[in-house]
């Protein structure tokens, strides 16, 4: 949508998208540009580079620094090129003696109030002020430096990642505008007037005390060393960079990893990234220190049982030990007694190899991915209704939306860069409807025009979406043309009869959802009547006993209103982790081969069998919860886990712990001794995203390259470890580079046939389907038809969850995420992001707290049917009374000790979002937490004991 050219160049002002072109002459060079383009940008496009300081092509022109002054024939004075739009026939001069003098005079004034410490300044070599001083030929400062100035202004070092040195500020407002226009937080302002003007976080607060969310947009915008990464202050300016993809959330931002040798100095969001267009959040921008953290595992380790210390061994011995254990287990308990789990934190190539290892070398389909516990209902629901297990749009599509529904998602915390884009659209006037038990920050978007909050009771999503659809159908708001042309008539009629029943009306379900009928009717009309209505949803939709039903309900609503198949509309699952989409695409689920081809499909299976040279089981394997149940029962005895921490992230922790301790062999491949690894017999040290090649696929189906910028700390990229394990099991795989794995994926996956590393190099990224029909990918899905021909409306009967409140458990717990931490926290807990969230707390409504005599900060015992844990209280009115909320970023919090085995009927995705609990004041940790502490201490000692001889140089 935003048409950049060379992403490494700053064109001064944003691109304009007009189809009308205007021709003009700049310094005698003829150029034609879209109407509305600034003279500054037009000149830059002609490679005529006018000096500038306050302008940047991700910000609207401001016209403050006056350095880009030009002369225009027939016009008086020296207009700023940044604020002057092009006109037909314009004759512009950018360089002459008068302009040179003017610019030198401007720079002279700037420098008269700027420290002259260039040689020791952290921005030395990367300073726009320095560059422009050179460009304009500044040689003297006639005013001297003794006058009133800002050189003694106090530094603000409160933020862990960047410093704010106002003595170096030129008050260009780029940081303020970046915070407003790019990030949408409005945390910065210019305080004072004239000479007293200064950049102010909040109301002259420290950065840490202000509303700043540390996205880094201001740091990137700053043309001086005023806002500077502390890593650059410490290490100096980087000397080379590599473009790669962030390993945090499903937005999949592109970054330049800026390096000194193999040391990562900083991550700078890449303007050429099609998912993020040069924006970032605190995690991707700054929280990369975990990659070099002292806790990294660097040596393979083995042990016979989990009550023994670890023994460091070489790769060969570890792989051989693992393979022998797996073979022995199968010999004793049968072919189906082992399996594997991969993670959405792994690359496509890694997840592909793990499922191949399991199907080909293990000889069964017991493969699953952590997407099981987040977005498996998306796969089921969207495939059933729309024919493809993926979101329908690009992120940029939101800029054409007129009404936006956000259900069970918290984008400002979990998908911050996309949230900034959405907020931009909201500021432009799009309507917002949020269906969520909590009041999320998106509702507080500054300068939004209209927002509706539907604060439904946890567990009543389907009743709500049915009520919305009921309004659409009974008030004549359907798009009959779309339905007639694009949808299966019989399924539509059946659905229409079902949804028209009075029992689905907003009035009938008001007492179930807790949302007023009037609010539901208003929301349905807003969405259905908007020219473009888009739905975005997250785990608040999927992680329910009716997660799949709700996804189908959302697809029904979009089809009924014709909001499918063009920009600005669609059904958009916001994927939690970086490669949720990819891990699902790559055949990690037990019933599907790569590309969502069912294992019972003989034609598809045959193609895999021919290429892989082995028969493939035609029945699905065990899903993660089924593996746990079978392990406890004794029929499932060995598990290979790559990059996933099931002991912390999966529900009913004590059940998971029982399953893990039932295994004869647990092989964990990870970068840290995570909670699962404490139950393992083999530890295979993995590589971080900085240490390997591969691809991630983000929430908009965009395949992005992950590029190796430093060697793997343990010597192997993760895909190489899987290859070695497979070889040791007697099934050799022959790859020299992940590009060859992608070539095999393309060969076997109809939606990937056009994908290759060469094409990714050429085009930057590709959105699948990418094949002969769509050689450069598919930004918008279902434009002309659905993969199943016609869209299928699904009957979405509301079935109340069995997890209900009663006198013993009167409150409903729902769980979620916060901005600074990521998933189980294994990465972000090992960074300075800890300063924002060093413990999980229980948010409780003041009225619920008052009834129990609870004050802010009290220790609370939270008890469910599964277990008990203890967290500190935080009084909050974000939730309605009767609902409490927590996060699961810290293992000792035991958030999942209280979540239950209740799961989605279709996919077994756990119902993290609804747990009936009671809360009371306590004075000490729960029994589980005390056990956890003891076990954790013991396992850490086992690890330290294994490392000691090596660190002392003693031969094992």
């Amino acid at each position: 949508m935003i048409g950049y050219y060379d992403p490494n160049k700053d064109y001064g002002t944003p691109a304009r998208l007009s189809e009308n072109h205007v021709s003009l002459s700049i310094d005698g060079v003829e150029i034609s540009v879209p109407e509305g383009t600034s003279v500054l940008r037009a000149a830059a496009l002609a490679d005529i580079n006018i000096p500038k300081l306050c302008a940047s092509d991700n910000l609207e022109a401001f016209g403050s620094c006056r350095l880009c002054a030009v002369q225009v024939e027939g016009k008086r004075g020296y207009p700023a090129a940044c604020t002057t739009p092009v006109e037909a026939g314009m004759q512009v001069t950018t360089q002459n003696t008068k302009l040179a003098r003017l610019r030198r005079n401007v720079m002279e004034l700037y420098i008269s109030d700027h420290p002259l410490d260039c040689l020791t300044c952290p921005a030395n070599g990367d300073c726009e002020l320095q560059d422009v001083a050179g460009a304009v030929g500044l040689r003297e400062v006639r005013y001297g430096f003794e006058g009133e100035n800002h050189l003694a202004a106090e530094k603000d070092n409160s933020n862990p990642y960047f410093s704010f040195d106002p003595s170096k500020c030129i008050v260009c407002s780029r940081c303020v505008r970046a915070c407003e226009e790019v990030q949408g937080t409005f945390a910065l302002t210019i305080d004072g007037r004239g000479f007293d003007s200064k950049v102010s976080p909040g109301q002259m607060e420290d950065f840490m005390d202000s509303e700043c969310v540390s996205c880094g947009a201001c740091v990137q915008a700053c043309p001086t060393a005023t806002l500077m990464e502390k890593s650059v202050v410490d290490q100096g300016v980087p000397e080379h960079s590599v473009i790669t993809t962030c390993a945090y959330c499903g937005v999949g931002c592109s970054f330049k990893a800026e390096m000194k040798g193999d040391q990562l100095v900083r991550m700078v969001p890449y303007k050429g990234g099609d998912a993020n267009h040069g924006h970032s959040c605190v995690k991707g921008r700054f929280a990369f220190g975990y990659a070099t953290h002292q806790d990294r595992l660097t040596t393979p380790m083995i042990r016979d049982s989990i009550d023994q210390p670890w023994r460091e061994v070489g790769w060969e011995e570890a792989i051989s030990f693992a393979a022998e254990r797996l073979k022995a287990t199968q010999a004793k308990y049968g072919r189906e007694s082992i399996g594997g789990i991969t993670s959405s934190r792994c690359t496509n190539e890694e997840t592909y190899l793990v499922q191949k290892l399991i199907r080909a070398a293990f000889g069964n389909n017991n493969t699953d991915t952590c997407a099981r516990v987040c977005h498996s209902p998306t796969g089921y629901g969207l495939k059933t209704t729309l024919g493809e297990s993926a979101g329908t749009q690009t992120f940029d599509s939101v800029m054409k939306s007129d009404a936006i529904i956000v259900i069970g998602a918290n984008p400002t915390d979990a998908h911050p860069v996309f949230a900034s884009l959405m907020r931009r659209r909201l500021r432009e006037g799009a309507s917002l409807i949020v269906a969520d038990p909590r009041h999320i920050d998106l509702l507080d978007t500054p300068h939004r025009s209209d927002a509706q909050h539907l604060p439904l009771r946890p567990g009543t999503n389907v009743a709500l979406v049915n009520a919305l659809a009921h309004v659409v159908v009974t008030e004549g708001l359907e798009d009959h043309d779309f339905i007639a042309k694009r949808c299966d008539t019989e399924a539509y009629r059946a659905w229409r009869d079902f949804i028209s029943e009075e029992r689905h009306s907003p009035e009938a379900v008001e007492s179930v959802t807790g949302v007023s009928a009037a609010a539901v009717r208003h929301a349905a009309r807003t969405y259905a009547k908007a020219p473009n209505g888009a739905i975005y949803y997250g785990l608040g939709v999927t992680e329910h006993s009716q997660g799949s039903t709700m996804v189908m309900g959302i697809a029904n609503l979009a089809m009924a209103t014709g909001n499918i198949g063009r920009e600005g509309v669609g059904v958009n699952p916001l994927r939690g982790q970086n490669n949720v989409q990819g891990s699902c695409d790559m055949g990690s689920f037990p019933h599907e081969l790569p590309g969502y081809q069912h294992v019972a499909d003989a034609t598809a299976r045959q193609r895999f069998e021919e290429l892989w040279g082995v028969p493939i089981d035609d029945e699905p394997g065990l899903r993660i919860p089924n593996m746990f149940d079978a392990a406890i029962e004794g029929s499932f005895k060995a598990l290979y886990v790559q990059g996933e921490d099931i002991a912390q992230s999966d529900p009913n922790t004590q059940h998971v712990e029982a399953a893990l301790t039932s295994l004869d062999c647990l092989i964990v491949q990870d970068i840290f001794l995570n909670e699962t690894a404490k139950y393992a017999h083999v530890l295979l040290p993995g590589s971080s995203f900085l240490e390997k090649n591969g691809t991630f696929t983000n929430a908009e189906r965009r395949i992005n390259r992950v590029r190796k910028v430093m060697p793997p700390r343990a010597g192997k990229e993760d895909w190489e470890i899987t290859v070695e394990l497979s070889r040791a099991l007697g099934y050799p795989m022959d790859y020299r580079h992940p590009s060859e794995i992608m070539d095999e994926i393309a060969q076997l996956t109809p939606t990937f046939t056009g994908v290759s590393y060469d094409k990714l190099e050429r085009l930057g990224s590709l959105q699948w389907p990418c094949n002969a029909e769509h050689p450069e990918g598919t930004p918008t899905m279902h434009e002309f038809d659905f993969p199943i021909g016609l869209g299928r409306f699904a009957i979405t009967e509301y079935v109340a969850t069995e997890e209900r409140t009663n006198r013993r458990f009167p409150l409903l717990l729902t769980t979620g995420r916060i901005l600074s931490q990521y998933n189980v926290g294994a990465q972000t807990r090992r960074t300075d992001n800890q300063v924002w969230h060093d413990e999980d707390v229980l948010e409780i409504h003041p009225s619920d707290a008052e009834m129990r005599g609870i004050a802010d900060g009290d220790w609370l015992g939270i008890t469910s049917r599964s277990g008990q844990t203890v967290l500190r209280a935080r009084l909050s009115e974000r939730m309605q009374p009767g609902v409490v909320y927590t996060t699961f970023h810290h293992p000792a919090s035991g958030a999942n000790v209280i979540t239950t085995d209740s799961s989605d009927w279709a996919t077994n995705c756990p119902e993290y979002k609804v747990t009936a609990v009671q809360v009371e004041k306590v004075s000490r940790p729960s029994a589980w937490q005390r056990r956890f502490d003891d076990f954790d201490r013991e396992q850490r000692q086992f690890l330290e004991a294994a490392r000691e001889p090596a660190s002392q140089g003693v031969a094992p």
Partner: protein, 76 residues
């Protein structure tokens, strides 16, 4: 930790039946779902408990499992 996998499977099958109850031929829908998404061992286990006195399958779920059992008998 005590865990009754048989009870879990019956509960899961009943849950599927409850969610598909309003579909045309709900039993066929449940059977297709089980065939498509459940592991062989889980299906066999569920079929195996059909004759148990305490097999607490809902009518739709029972019908689906009986259909699945019959289909498997014919296939073998």
């Amino acid at each position: 930790m005590q865990h009754d996998q048989r009870a879990t499977l019956i509960h899961m099958a009943n849950q599927i039946a409850a969610n598909l109850q309003s579909s045309d031929d709900a039993a066929a829908g449940v059977r297709t779902h089980l065939e498509k998404f459940w592991a062989r061992s889980m299906k066999e286990r569920l079929i195996g408990c059909l004759d148990d006195a305490d097999c607490d399958l809902s009518p739709i779920a029972r019908q689906a499992v009986e259909q699945m059992a019959e289909q498997r008998r014919q296939a073998s």
